[in-house]
């Protein structure tokens, strides 16, 4: 039973098993299913780890860090939103292995949720983009900030949540992991900082392709997000912010 933790490397994906999740996201036909996958996949991994109560060897930590760095780096050149999100997800969930070394399993579930909630929301917004522009791919149809201001605003804030900027739960997860590793293993702490930087960098590149820049000639055909949907998304984001602040209080 103790060796069952190996199954977790698929759900808290480590390279090369991470390819399974990336492939799954590519294959899922709609945004809702992708959202659910983003939500449940790491939770399954955490649940498996809880079930096995395994003592992890030290090298797993470096394997996880390597995976996270690899995917964060690859995300830099990805222009398709869902693929980018899946890479960032793999990169973020790999970090949960690092978190695990300094935290207990109960908290791990919360940390996992902190990462996945914005990603699930982003997957839904990816669906909104695809519905309007036939693809959620940066640099194809010009900046949408002027033609679709509400959708753009939601994209920007959700992306900030995904790349773990302050107030959102991912930020506190990263902070606590870095602080925890700072004394024990500065190399890992620096690695985590680097990964964080790469997330931000790739996120901004993606936003530049999607939101910024001159608008397309036909962007006058605006079909921006309905106000009630913006309200719903905004409430979810605010909820995540509160969830993140509770992290700050608890940890």
């Amino acid at each position: 039973m103790n060796q069952m933790w190996w199954f977790s490397v698929v759900f808290l994906p480590l390279f090369p098993f991470s390819a399974v999740f990336v492939l799954l996201i590519k294959m899922l036909p709609n945004a809702w299913l992708r959202g659910i996958a983003f939500l449940l996949w790491p939770l399954a991994g955490v649940w498996l780890l809880e079930a096995t109560q395994a003592n992890l060897p030290d090298w797993v930590l470096y394997w996880a860090l390597g995976t996270s760095l690899l995917y964060a780096f690859r995300a830099l050149v990805i222009r398709e939103l869902n693929l980018w999100l899946s890479y960032i997800a793999v990169s973020a969930w790999s970090i949960l292995w690092v978190v695990l070394s300094g935290s207990d399993l109960t908290n791990l579930m919360l940390f996992a949720l902190g990462f996945t909630l914005p990603m699930a929301l982003m997957a839904l917004l990816g669906g909104e983009l695809k519905q309007r522009f036939t693809a959620a791919y940066g640099g194809l149809y010009g900046g949408i900030a002027q033609s679709h201001p509400r959708l753009s605003a939601m994209l920007v804030f959700t992306l900030l949540a995904v790349i773990a900027t302050p107030l959102f739960p991912g930020f506190f997860t990263m902070m606590s992991s870095i602080m925890a590793q700072m004394l024990n293993s500065p190399v890992i702490a620096i690695g985590l900082l680097l990964i964080w930087l790469l997330w931000s960098w790739s996120g901004i590149l993606l936003l530049q392709g999607l939101v910024m820049g001159p608008e397309d000639a036909l962007s006058g055909l605006t079909d921006d997000l309905a106000v009630w949907r913006v309200g719903t998304y905004a409430l979810l984001l605010i909820g995540m912010g509160i969830f993140g602040l509770s992290f700050a209080v608890v940890f």
Partner: protein, 1039 residues
Amino acid sequence: MALTLGRKLGIRSMVYVAGKPIPFFWPMRSFIHHNPLHGLENLPFDEAVVKAHKLFHANTYLPRTTYQNYWQQGKVCQQTLHASTAKLAQELNNDLGVDLEQWFANLMLNTVEPVTSNKGGFSAEAVWRVLQGADHKSADVVHELDLPDILNRKLSADRPLYESIDLLFDTGIGEELDELVIKSCLDFFDEGQSVWKMPGRRKGLFQAWYQMASRNRWLSRRARFIHALVDDADSPEDVIDAVMRRFQVPEAAWQSYFTYELSRLHGWVGFIRWRENSKNYYWRVRYPADLVDYLAVRLTLSAALLQERARKIGLLTVPAMQDAIQSRTIELFLRQELYSGEVFPPLAQQVESSIALNRARSMEKFCIEYLRRKSVYEAEQCARRLQALAKQSDDTAALKTLSLEQVTDLLHALRSFEKREGQLWLEAMEQQSMDNLLQDICGGDDKDREKRPFAQALFCIDTRSERIRRHLESVGDYQTYGIAGFFGVPFSFMELGKGSETHLCPILLTPKNLVLEISRDETVMDEAALSALEKAIHELKESIFSPFVTVEAIGLLFGFDMFGKTLAPRTYHGLRKHLHQHKPITYLLQDKLSREQADSVVRAVQRALIENAVELDLGIPKERITDDMVRQLRECALEHESDAPLVREELHMKSGDLEEFVNRLRQTYQINPPFARLQLERLGRIGFSLDEQVNFVSTALRSIGLTTQFSRFVLLMGHGSRSENNPYESALDCGACGGNHGLFNARVLAYMANKPQVRAKLKQQGLPIADDVWFIPAMHNTTTDEMNLYDLELLPSSHLIYLDRLRNGLIAASRLCAKERLLTLDEHTEVEEPAAAFIEVQRNAMDWSQVRPEWGLSRNVYFIIGRRRLTRNANLEGRSFLHSYDYREDPNCRLLANILGGPLVVGQWINMEHYFSTVDNERLGSGSKVYHNVAGRFGVMTGNLSDLRTGLPAQTVLNRGTPYHEPLRLITVIEGPYATTIKAIEEVAAVSRLVRNHWIRLMIIDPETGLVHSYEKGEWTQQALDKDQTVNASVEECA
């Protein structure tokens, strides 16, 4: 090996021709409105805009939705639009089975998207299948696309090689190359903005750049490559030749390759072209540069970047690229789809993955699937749009029954129509504007006045004068005239305290005469304390090190300035004005010197120099230097005498010493015969002879028809603008004065016209001006609408009593004009009183955060050459250039030809600049002012590094993102007999070409027949000016 002279000249001429389509860019100090497509004016307008679209990647008409808005506002002539669509439908209809005219009408008026928009994916057959409801997804809809042909067109040999590489591999070479070239240009062309200057600029652009590049860290990594390229060359032509041979571009394609290369940064290239042509431009003389230099720098850098970035790609020559198109067709096709932005969005990621995998067989398989899906998708979209259009036209059933051939023809017809649609909208809008104007125009002849008007005022033809003229006429017994703002007197001007000449005339003219401004005060102008302080602070700001220490020390001073300018601009400006020294009263040196006077001036200068030389070089005190000694030395220096015995004796000089001193006088102090001749020549430029003065006054007055009934006051109203923090300030000044204020031209003409000798000669020529008529120079500030009178100290005392009345009239007109104009600047303004509006516009002029102090010439559309009575009853809303002209004074049309060749051409440039800045503000205008930064003191860039922004900023032509200026070609109206007017037009080749190529819309109002002749599509049509009069319209073939 160095090229032969013939070869070098060949390359030079190729570069010259390649740069021709790129318009000049004048420095911002004297902003010149120009047609961005001036280089294409040899083509008809509709062809030129197609070419410009290709060359500058710019839109040349407004979007359909904007025209639809104009339609709803009644600004489009329905009749013309319907006639055009009907004519086109008739031309294109080939038994299509639908009501094509109705389709076109619905397409224009009720459809937003382009119906035939095609990113190269679908065939007519695919669309037909969708319309038939056939199982198109299983059908073989992948039509036979000739992929190599598509690639060859997109990656043609005359396109810069790096652009092709960028398009295929997303290498970003073009972008980096532009940045490096801009940095080099900023360094070289700087006109005093940089603290550290580029070394070696006197050697020219290419040599200076190479000298610096060889020490540049970035370039040092590629130094071997660049050295190998440049060291073998002894001129920029050699470098161009070497790079083009290295790229193996076929020589037949060189010229168009150069044009593509030059058009990438057309602002900088336009500036270099202008500079190259301005022989006397100070910076050009000092630091020469031309397009050949520029191209050599660009090509060298592009070769270095390609070597660095694309070496592994291996497509470093044109033949290699063409081979790859044949051998790696699928891969290159997918690459260009992905990186050109034409990729089918749902498959973008898969295209990227397929390219990354780079497996030939799977790529080919994927490419077929990609083309199929793209084709089907685009066909479905097209069919959807066709069905919507059919529904609007009640042709839904008919559309379903169309055969494949009919669908093909229908798509062809719609595509042709959409290509020409912009031109149809434009023509229909112009027709509406022409109809509106004709409704307001009054025919008939002037009635003789019983008494002369209280005052007459000559304004510039500028559109902004129309408003103030209308208001001035409404407040009293004023008669106004329109004349080009330089008042027909071209001259070069040297302002008091400035060391360089400014040409105060349209840029089409090169002035012969020079006018100097001289202070009437005897005291030399001292710098006021505040001016000196400002200068010191400015120098501190410019220094690299001083900011570190001065921020704490004097930072607060800037704070005061900032708060003052922001919170209370008017009060603060008033306070500051008191602290500045006022310009002294000046007079203008404008009478020509006689030969004797000029000789005397030269002699006096030489004598003063000799006295100084004796004192400084020989240490002899002034009291020992006699006039005879100076005369002898001067004669010796000028080689009139060989010895100066008095000097030798009095100063105890040996012959050798004397000879040495005389040589020094010749060389160091320039007292020698050639320089004396040069001085005489220069002095000969100063002022105007009496005959010239008579001629200028006579021509100016006759050209506007002011030959009788002169008022007591004749105001010569120059114009200019004043605004804060506005690099475009000179764009608001007088175009006829070369982008400067028009006051000095007014002063010069007033001086001439008031001169008794001039009046006497005018009387002899049959143009008597009564003794009590006084010409007063004045200035109209177009930002504030203030009108101020100048040179009043010269006013005869008999006129003083009337001055108050005159001033009151001017103030009333200013206030009324300000009120009218304020509404256009802020439609929500609550200011109702003219006086309050007057204060508000003054605030605008002093507010440093105001991006739109005035609308300038925006919304210009008409150019009317005729008597004022034509438009006296019309409110032209500041949209018309008004040039007074009385055909009765000009039987041989000589004056008309002058007006056509000068003011009309300038008006057309202004109009076209506004047109293109509106239809594509990003590419042909200069974008938002908010992001502008001054570059090198002669231009502006967006952000810290960009092409020089040409054209007008968004704030000048757009209002909240939508056009404020209605982009129409200049509608020109000439009042005169048809036959003689046509003759005058034919005589002015530039205008004749503009008319024939439809760059302007021309109407001739024949006052003798009451007919209006309009030129349309190569034909003259005529109609009655008075609608009640019935005239059978006839068409005459264009001569």
